[in-house]
């Protein structure tokens, strides 16, 4: 296949970026999108030019490193997949493909297609865990969990932290990511003790990092490579409202009826 790529090139966080066109004329439909970019980079390096920087690692759809806007869609046109699992057979000979980095205030560009997603770590640091020290733990089967709850928690826990939800949201909201983590623990007995503080702290951390709010556009759900659903955002809202209520002064609660 012959393709024209319009790739975002930006040499540093403070530099000005622009789209640069490249033509590749020997793309195999069996290649993954990242292997196609490898080919582009091979050509660039042999010409003595700097390769296009993009983040990638496991190339099995699970590490969450890769993430590109492909023709304006996070991770490209196929639903429920990461860029590394997107294959070139989904494109046609002669296509022009526009490749850009995630765009969000919370994800500043580092170079070319690579962005800084450390904000996600700071949100987890604010409470995305169950506080247990190693050792001195009861037998695992001493905490029975309804299969339905365990499965729902697992659905939420499938999030790989790639950031597609943020990138595809017009508000650059991180609520699908945060909602998934809050949901996982809210659904499990182990998460109950810290449930209130977790909801308050993680939401506050998310706001601090400059992510926007949800306005029910649902692009996040549509672009999520792990098919995480909007219901996690609803659960996050419920958790947050309940937590705020619990912490609100009594007068405020009475005034609110």
């Amino acid at each position: 296949m012959k393709l024209t790529l319009k790739v975002w090139r930006q040499s540093g966080p403070k530099e000005k970026g622009r789209l640069v066109a490249y033509v590749l004329d020997d793309v195999s439909p069996d290649q993954s999108f990242l292997e196609m970019l490898d080919d582009l980079n091979r050509v660039l390096v042999l010409k003595g030019e700097e390769p296009v920087v993009f983040e990638h690692d496991c190339r099995e759809g699970i590490c969450g490193c890769c993430g590109l806007m492909i023709n304006g869609q996070a991770h490209g046109p196929v639903r429920g997949t990461t860029v590394c699992q997107l294959h070139m057979r989904n494109f046609k000979d002669g296509d022009t493909i526009v490749i850009e980095p995630w765009r969000a205030k919370g994800f500043p560009v580092i170079k070319d297609l690579m962005v800084d997603r450390s904000a996600f770590d700071r949100i987890i640091e604010a409470g995305g865990y169950v506080s247990v020290n190693t050792g001195g733990i009861p037998d695992a089967n001493a905490i029975p969990i309804r299969k339905e709850d365990a499965d729902l928690a697992m659905d939420a826990a499938a999030c790989i932290g790639c950031g597609a939800c943020v990138a595809s949201c017009p508000n650059a909201s991180a609520m699908l990511f945060v909602g998934a983590k809050i949901s996982q623990y809210a659904l499990l007995p182990q998460g109950q003790v810290e449930r209130v503080a977790r909801a308050l702290n993680m939401v506050a951390a998310m706001d601090r990092e400059g992510f926007g709010n949800c306005s029910n556009v649902a692009e996040c759900e549509a672009s999520c490579p792990k098919l995480i659903t909007l219901s996690n955002i609803q659960r996050m809202y419920r958790e947050h409202v309940k937590a705020s209520w619990k912490y609100a002064p009594r007068e405020a609660r009475e005034a609110a009826g």
Binding site: C63, G64, D121, I145, A150
Partner: protein, 637 residues
């Protein structure tokens, strides 16, 4: 050099308990006086760093990723073993120990393996308490499945994402400690060398991947948890950034390298499709619970798989290994696949593949059941191959996956360089010559949560260490060497990319030091590797500069090390003329291709000492004594 394994005496069942008691402890108030460096944030590194933080040490943890959550442990699919006997099928700590020792073909230390089996039960408790969403039965209790090499269901799993869920558990414990300030997280930092002062490991030198800054970091102990080196083969199931730099640099600074040639070839990978492929993708071994493996009885039969009748198929694993069938261990299954393909029975366009067929299972249990068990794996397969495994059998072929070799460590997981600990896949221990399925996650977390917190205390409490700062002369010297190495790489202006050279190296290793080896092939490999290394240093092309994010330089730094490690892999394979586990020496096999072990002459761990590039390394042997199990022929028939 005398290798002291420090295995405690006495009955096997009480060795660890007694050793823990005898190890010195650091008083809680004194722990804040010690700094520990942890390199790598996979299961082993994250769990160790989190545990050190909980205990009160000052921890510095380094990862080349943007976040600890990206470590390659995340890609493990199938599960984690633990001898819980929740299924009442006769499992026990002893059986897990026995299966693991036998699976490793009697080339691992008994005491280490027993300890691993003992703490396996604690790992599950720990992870459940952290909120890891393991699969559950309708009664609310934990579900289990069986895995290759075992006849009991002892594998705990979280859909096909067990590695991800366990890593997120360890990562969340780590981030909790980052929040308390006990752990300082250094992301996008790659360790490029080890600092040894007066024979003791005291720090590391890192490169900041964003700015190129080369810095020294010092501590009272250094823990390497940097994973395996199967990327030496170029095409492997490993993540692209997986390297051998940290262990190789430590080796060059005096740490012995154990069993370098033992790499596991995983039987169920999606076959390669062409010459420009970057990566192979694993299909979880759990698929073998329901999938039946077959090839055509006739050679070169290229008909559509559904046109081939039952009588025309050879379910070779069920035929050759009736008691384990499709669940035969990984090395046995991989070699069987290679044999049938080499004999001309392979399927698919290249003939380098066998079928993994779910038609019987779908007929028996219904599509919904199979979908619930393996749906995400089936989707992944379809995405990559454009074939629907619900309709057509999957095509699979073995591929390099995990490395059993790594830095030599004693029972305390300390290398022969005092103060340098090595955990998880980065060390050579516990799996012997072959690793059973669902054991890697177990070892990573066992080392990090339940072994090293005690053994490192024993070291710190029993050693007098002067304080060392990053401006120490030794640190400056290593920084200068690292900078010179980088300058040399940046000066390479040839006309081949680093990836192309890496690909050449990988092909040589795969051809001659892969699933089976012989003396002649290993000699060819040795010659080719030195040619490829020479070509790298003459003809590689490295663009860009150091003071910037430079993926070409990162790659060159890693490949330069693989080119040296490859020599040792070949040397190690050549020195061991027996077959054992994943290491099949063609000179040592039965007429029907089963491995013949030679306990008389090879019941030892190879621990290699570095003597310089292109120079023969020195072999040290740690004799393996089997006091509690008798090595026997490993039969799965």
């Amino acid at each position: 050099m005398k290798l002291d394994s420090k295995v405690p005496g006495g009955p096997l069942e009480t060795k660890w308990q007694r050793h823990r008691f005898e190890l010195k402890r650091v008083n809680p108030a004194n722990r804040r006086k010690f700094d520990i460096i942890v390199v790598g944030t996979g299961l082993a590194g994250a769990s160790a760093a989190a545990s050190f933080g909980e205990l009160g040490y000052n921890v510095h943890v380094f990862t080349y990723h943007d976040s600890p959550r990206r470590a390659h442990s995340i890609a493990a699919q199938g599960g984690i073993n633990a001898a819980k006997n929740y299924q009442n099928d006769g499992d026990s700590v002893w059986l897990l120990f026995y299966d693991t020792i036998k699976g490793g073909d009697y080339r691992a230390r008994e005491a280490n393996v027993h300890r691993l089996a003992e703490v396996s039960v604690d790992i599950i408790d720990q992870c459940v308490a952290q909120g890891v969403p393991f699969a559950r039965d309708y009664g609310g209790l934990l579900a289990n499945r069986s895995f290759g090499g075992a006849q009991v269901s002892r594998t705990f799993y979280a859909r096909g994402q067990t590695g991800q869920q366990l890593l997120l558990g360890a990562y969340s414990a780590l981030m909790r400690q980052v929040h308390t300030g006990k752990v300082k997280l250094h992301t996008r930092h790659e360790m490029l060398d080890l600092v040894v002062i007066d024979g003791v490991a005291r720090g590391i030198v890192t490169r900041n991947l964003l700015t190129g800054a080369i810095e020294a970091h010092t501590a009272d102990a250094v823990v390497l948890a940097t994973g395996g080196y199967a990327r030496a083969y170029y095409l492997s199931t490993m993540a692209m950034a997986s390297s051998c730099t940290s262990v190789w640099r430590a080796h060059k600074r005096g740490a012995l390298f154990g069993n370098a040639s033992w790499g596991q070839i995983h039987p169920t990978c999606i076959p390669r499709h062409g010459d420009r492929q970057s990566k192979l993708t694993l299909m979880s071994e759990s698929l073998r619970n329901d999938g039946r493996v077959w090839v055509t009885k006739a050679k070169g039969d290229k008909r559509h798989p559904r046109e081939i009748t039952e009588e025309e198929r050879d379910y070779y694993l069920e035929r050759i290994y009736p008691s384990f069938g499709n669940l035969a261990p990984r090395d046995v299954s991989s070699r069987a696949a290679k044999r049938v393909c080499d004999d001309g029975h392979g399927v698919g366009p290249t003939g380098q593949a066998v079928y993994l067929d779910f038609a019987d299972a779908i007929r028996r249990d219904g599509r919904a059941v199979i979908e619930a068990k393996y749906g995400n794996l089936f989707d992944m397969y379809k995405m990559i191959t454009d074939e629907d495994p619900y309709e057509l059998p999957m095509r699979i072929y073995p591929a390099p996956h995990y490395t059993m070799g790594g830095l030599w460590v004693d029972y305390n997981l300390m290398s022969n360089v005092p103060g340098l600990f090595v955990i998880g896949e980065a060390n050579y221990s516990d799996h012997g010559a072959n690793r059973l399925g669902a054991s890697a996650l177990m070892q990573g977390l066992a080392d990090g949560y339940f072994v090293i917190p005690y053994t490192i205390a024993g070291y710190l409490a029993g050693t007098k260490l002067p304080k060392v700062k990053p401006d120490h002369d030794a640190c400056r010297a290593v920084i200068a060497e690292t900078k010179a190495h980088i300058d040399r790489l940046l000066a390479l202006k040839g006309n081949k990319t680093v990836e192309e050279i890496h690909r050449d190296l990988g092909q040589v290793l795969w051809d001659y030091c892969g699933m089976s080896r012989n003396a002649e092939g290993l000699n060819i490999a040795k010659k080719r590797i030195s040619e490829i290394r020479a070509e790298f240093w003459e003809n590689a092309k490295v663009v860009g500069r150091n003071g910037d994010l430079n993926p070409v330089l990162e790659s060159a730094l890693r490949v330069a090390e693989f080119l040296e490690l490859a020599d040792l892999m070949v040397e190690d394979a050549a020195s061991r003329t027996e077959s054992c586990g994943c290491h099949l020496r063609e000179e040592s096999q039965t007429p029907d291709g089963e491995a013949i072990r030679d306990d008389e002459n090879f019941s030892y761990v190879s621990a290699w000492e570095w003597n310089g590039v292109g120079k023969a390394p020195t072999l040290h042997k740690e004799e393996l004594k089997f006091e509690f199990v008798t090595p026997s022929v490993r039969s799965y028939k």
